[in-house]
């Protein structure tokens, strides 16, 4: 769970995204219990209120459900779960293309730069 405290993006929304990514990665599965807001707050060095807001937001969008006294769980809604990964990926792709286009970079060069960077990282890493 990587949070960027200097990003203009609100922390609670960053937390929601991180949960979605964990789901996309398969690190979190439907039915899984997620830490209580207090626990999460301690782990992430964030104020409990902020975690609360993140959890409320996740509940609101149907990502989780809360069982009184038992905790918060990833909802078992296959349709939604399936779409998360592809939706977020598509969004990332689009954002990338828009950004590159804004810089006046042609599609061929976009693919080229992506490939180059991936190759470089493979060697270094």
């Amino acid at each position: 769970m990587q949070l960027n405290f200097n990003s203009p993006k609100p922390i609670y929304l960053q937390m929601v995204d991180e949960v979605k990514k964990a789901l996309a990665r398969g690190e979190l599965s439907p039915g899984d219990k997620i830490p209580s807001h207090k626990e999460r707050a301690q782990i992430s060095q964030v104020n409990p209120n902020t975690v609360m807001r993140a959890y409320q937001e996740m509940e609101r969008v149907g990502l989780t459900e809360t069982l009184r006294g038992q905790g918060t769980f990833i909802k078992n809604d296959p349709a939604m779960l399936l779409s998360i990964r592809s939706e977020m990926a598509q969004a990332a792709v689009h954002q990338f293309i828009e950004e590159m286009r804004g810089l006046g970079i042609e599609p061929d060069e976009m693919a080229h730069m992506l490939r180059d960077t991936l190759h470089m990282e493979r060697k270094e890493g």
Copy 2:
């Protein structure tokens, strides 16, 4: 100059980025005068002070220089100008890779998705 008023990213920073992009695209050149903050404010439908802040930020990072009572001009610093395009492009590539990696997507699939989306857009557009 496209501004997103709902983005969490401050408007004045968006304006700085837009100028950088225009430079990267070659639409703006060293020595060019950019509109006065009041003019820009009217065009972009934002408060003059917000534009001022963007302009001061640009001055601060050495992107522009200001002549008392005459206006604000793109600085003629070839080295810096050359690097803007590649720096911003590289940043976009990295951000894309990180985002995709966060979703558990492999390098090959990244390139694949990018290519697919670019192809689709070509047909549609």
Copy 3:
């Protein structure tokens, strides 16, 4: 914190200098929390936005760091802190010499006048 509202020097820059001076004097130490911009605004009888600008300038030059929702703190960068005093003093000395030289006053007389004035003040004060 003495501010001169009639000085052509912007208030927000005067405030930055005052903090630097307090550091040089040892009245402020690394890690110290400085008053919130709203508090400072009330104390100094200036607009909160003006204080904000001063605080942002301090952050920009690496004098302070800010913790979301907690406040603004003097940065713990010993190297920088040590240099502030000597840099500001050296600047003052240079400015003095230049000013006196502009008046056609010789080095010996500069030292002489300084000594005289210091003596006079000692007796008066």
Copy 4:
């Protein structure tokens, strides 16, 4: 005539001070004709209006007098002329002392730093 276009001190006041300094240095004497505002504007790369304001200010404080059709001249007011040098020098000394005191520097160290810097400059220059 050195003008600092980035100083917060208005240029027209800087010009007044420069004339005073030239008088203090003896480069300008009572009765001397000073350049017309247009000439001065060209020499100093400044807008004629700005020079006009400087000249008006000098007239206002009794430093110069204008003879219709003949130009502007340094006034022959011995009392005032005599005081300029010592007044400006005293002001510089006081400002220096205040600045150093603001940094928590003791009188002895002030004199010490001044002497050191003067010595260093003598060797370098």
